[in-house]
Structures are given as C-alpha cells and as structure tokens.
Amino acid sequence: MFENEEKRFEVRRIKLWGSYKPTRSIDKTLMATPDPSASTDSPPAGQVIDLQSIHKNYDMGSETIHALNGVDCRMEVNEYVAIMGPSGSGKSTLMNIIGCLDRPSTGEYWLAGENVSKLNDKALARVRNRMIGFVFQTFNLLSKSNALQNVETPLLYSGIGRRERRNRALEALERVGLGDRTFHKPSELSGGQRQRVAVARALVNDPAILLADEPTGNLDTRTGEDIMALFEELYSAGQTIILVTHEPEIAVRAKRHIHLRDGEVTEDYLVENG
C-alpha cells in the first residue's frame, strides 16, 4: 500500500509537464452541482460532519485500491476528535475528504448542513475557505510573506476588504499569543511560533472545523505541549477540532478517538479523561 502511494505520487508529478491520464477514477456525475431536492434529508442542527458510507477507490491500472471502505461517522459542534491509525490505514484519505481537498468515490459527506460530496472544484474551494481551517505538520506558511500576510491569505480569497482583513488577522494573531510578531517572516520565527501563525491562519475565517494533521510532528515535546494547550483553549472556547495523528500521547488530549484500519473505522469511543 505504501509503495503504491509512492508510485502514484511519482506518476502524478509528470502531470505538470504533459498529457497524462488521471489514475484516479472520478465519476463524472459527482462533479455536477448538487441537486437542490437532495437537501431535504439534511442532518439535524448541531451536527457539523456527517459521513455516510464513504468509499474512496484508486484505480491503479490492473487493480483497484480501496483506501476507504465505507466510513460512517458523525461529529457534533464543539467536539474534539482524534483520528488515529497506522500508515496506510486511510486516515490521510479521510482527512483529505473531510478537508474538502478530495471527493469520495461513493457515499455522501454533509458538512454543516451542506452536501459537499458532489460539489465542483470551485464550490469546494469556497467550502475550504469558509468552513475548514487547516493546520499542517510542516506548517506550510508562505515563506515570502510575513505572519500578518500569511494569516490574511484565506480572507483574501473570501474577498474581504483590506481594513477588515487586517483587523481580523491581527485579532487571530493576538488569540494565539503572537500579537508582537506580526511583521516577522516565517524564517524569523521559531517552530512553535510558526505553528501558532498557522493556527491563527486556520482560525481567521472562523471555520466550522479546525483540521490538524500531525500538528506537533515537527515540534519538540515542550513546544508541542504548548500547541496542544492552545488547541485545548480553542476547544473550550467552542471550536470543533479534528486531529489526525498516530501519536497516542497527542491523541490523548482529544475527547473522542476514531481508529481506522484498512479503510474502515475499527473503534470510535469517547475518552473519559475530561
């Protein structure tokens, strides 16, 4: 599985330079705009994520790989969920689908009352912009831009005016305790500070979910603790957080654990640590 992923990655890179036949099969009907009549069975209020038998298949020439094999899962507003599983368990695929970077092959994904599994690219970009705050393991800050500009970026794509953008970005930076580092470039910040900028950027558009992929993976233990404390603070303030990790000591901070293996949910339980 892992080897296949590597191979797939190599194949995709060629895409930039020439014609190439997509290896992933995307059902054309899924690209269409959603049918308005389908919204009648929208989920109850308070439910932010509803995954209904999500499948994700990759067509690798001769064989088809089932990265996700019927995942069903619901999450409420202000939950703090850790998605766990070993490499190849499908947790990255699930994260990409939850983060609207990818669409399920079959199944429905309702995010904050909207069926996003059938949206086109442009609509998905809008959903990512408004609903999802990404925090990556490698921070993924724009290296040529300062902290403020980094945090402003999602607002830029929301079409928000200069003044409001600046105010909201400053506010978000204050919130993560970096009010005094506004004009520093990422290279002038420590790892912990960079991740705080990333969190501020994720929060600035007031997203429905904060989606963190191994947020402490590139940090030392103490700085990692600080980031986890920040997450806890945000959770207490009402933020819905989804943490993707394979480290049990990080996952233990979450209130609910979902374990994946071979593309299926094997365990889903609440953690009783308070």
């Binding site: 890179r13 930039l16 442009k122 990512r128 912009n129 990404f134 794509y157």
Partner: protein
Amino acid sequence: MSLLESIRIALGAIRGNALRSALTILMIVIGVGCVIIGAAFGSGTQAAVQEQMNTLGTNVLSIWPGQSFGRGGVASSNRVSLTIDDYDALRRDSQFLSAVVPELRSGRQVKFGNKNIYGTVTGTTPNYMAVNNRELTHGRMITQSDLAARRRVAVLGYSIPTSLEFAPTSLLGRDISIGRIIFKVIGVFAEVGSSYGGPSVDDAIYIPLTTARFRVFGSDRLGSLSAEVKENIGVDMAMVDIERVLRREHKIRPGDPNDFTIMNRGVFSDMMQSITSTLSTYIIGILAISLLIGAIGILSIMLVSVTERTREIGVRKALGATRGNILTQFIVEAITLGALGGLFGIILGWLGSEAISSQFDMPLIVEMQTVLIAVAVSVSVGFLAGVWPAYLASRLDPIEALRHD
C-alpha cells in the same frame, strides 16, 4: 480577490526572487530600449528632413560635378569639372531658372588673434542667401559691389564665432585671416543646424565669388551650383533644361553620360525617408526577436516558478484559492514581469536617446506612440508567456501539491 491584490502578490513574488526576475526581464529591457532608441532616431531624422524641406523648399536643384551616385560614385574630380563658365552659361541660356548660385569651395586656415581653425571657404554671390533661405543674425550679406570690386569681406557661418571663441557682435568689422589673406567680417549667418546631403553650412565662411576666384583659390572650378526653378515650372523640366545647357557647354556627344549630377533636394528627403523606413523594418525585426527571446525567458522562469512553488499553490488552494485565483495570480505575475521589462526598457531607451542626442548632435525624438506600443507589447508578451504556466499551476491537485517538496 481584486486585481490590485493580485498585483501586490505578484510584486511580492518578484521581489522575493529579485535577481532572477531582473535577469528574466533583461532581454525585454534591452529589446524595448533598442527599439525606443531606433524609433527615436527615425522620428528625429524624419522631423529634421521635414524641417529642412520646409526651409529650403523643393524648387531648388543642386548640380554637382561627376556622375550620378547611382553609377558607382563620383568620377575623378580632375577630369570632371563644373566651372564658372557653366554658371554663366546657365544664367544666360536656361529658360526655366529664376536664379543660379555658384559655390566655389575649398578648405583654408582661418586665423583670428591667436585662434586658428580650419574651415570651408565658399565663394558665392549675393543671391545665395535668398535661394538657400538663409538669414543673418548680424551685419550684412555680400553685395554686387563687393563682387565687382573683388572685396575681401567675409560672412561667417553660425558656428565660426564660437569656434574662434569670440562674440559675433564684436567680430563684426574686425579683420580675420583666411589662408593668409586678411578679410573683414561683415556678417554672421543664423543657425541652420544639422544638414543632410551637404557639408555643414554652419562651419563655412562665405566670401564674394570673384574674390575667391582671383584672390584666394586662383581657380574657377566650382564645388556645386544651386539653381532655383521659376515658379509654375516643373522641377523635371528645369532638370532637362539644365542638362541641355551643360551638355552643350561640356561638348558631350549624344549617348555619352553626363559628367555632372543634378539633384533634386527632394531626393535627399526621399533618401532619408527610405533609410528611415528600412530602419523601421529593422526595428520591427529587433523588436520581434528580442521580445520572442524575452517571452521564452519569462515562460521558462514561470515554468520553473510553478514547479518550485507547487507547495505554495497547494497551500493557497487548501486555504480556499480557486483555479481562477491561481490562474490570475500567475498570469498577473508574468504580465508584471513583462510590464517591468517594458518600463525599464523605456527608461533605458529614453536615457539612451538623450545621451545620443547630446553626444552626437543628432535629433532623437522619443514619441509617446512608441512608448505606448512598447508598454502594450511587453504586457502582451508577459501575458502570452504566462498563460501556459499559469494554466498548469491552476490545474495542480491540491493534495499532490501539498505533498510536494
């Protein structure tokens, strides 16, 4: 996202790679610069020719000794000559000329005080001034009585007082030595400026024809003749008339070629026009080649940039950038590169034109039209070079792009 924001992001990206960006646009800078200078040269030349035509009029013919330039250059000057006899014959026999002006020319040492210059000395007649449309700033022109008395009087070209480092007014009535003969300065001509198709008249000194013939040069061989065509007479008819008179005077047998050349001054302007238009063709060629190279430069840099910034593209997409946003961002960046190249090229071309103008006393005119075309073309080049890389960038899969390193 507004266009302004896109430009701001583009400028940020260009600044982030300042050296590389500068090298990328260098070709466009040089190309546009060359074109601006070339076009300025063309415009300047055209304007100068136009001005000359306006002052001289097209009804003045020049007659030069030797064969037409078209048949392998001027024939040997000791065999061929144009003399004062020819001048007299033309005055006497031609039907269509209202005035004939002889110019008996030779270089001579000119001394004033301890100043010593070398100048063209021209022996001529009073009507020189009217036919050639010259004006005096000081003093008077040579008169018929000067001519009759072979007086040693001189009218100076505009640049002569400057060369002698003496004010024109204080030179009037003073004695200067021309080829060791003392002349009295009686007048100074107004400036003509650069002239095409003849020796610079501002550097010449004018003396009576008779004085030149009998006292200074001891020769009746003319440098050239000017002939003014009568009103309502075609220049072509006048040329035939002159040819008839001179062939008879020179005893040229039928079928033999002329040993003189009649030039319509309009020919100079035609010549300049054709040079200018040839130049324009070259300019367009240079423009096309340099902009093609510039476009390839921008294209390759943008392709590298897209590959290099794959992760950035992924991040931007994750944060909500649509394909359109990414497409716009990269196209705007390429256009900005092109526009910057054009801008610096215009500055380079303008400075270059100024420098050449002042250094070589050539009129170079940078026209607004050229500048606007340069801007439009460089922007278009940026756009064309940016479309494909921008398209590739916009098509990147965010998941793949985020994994890229």
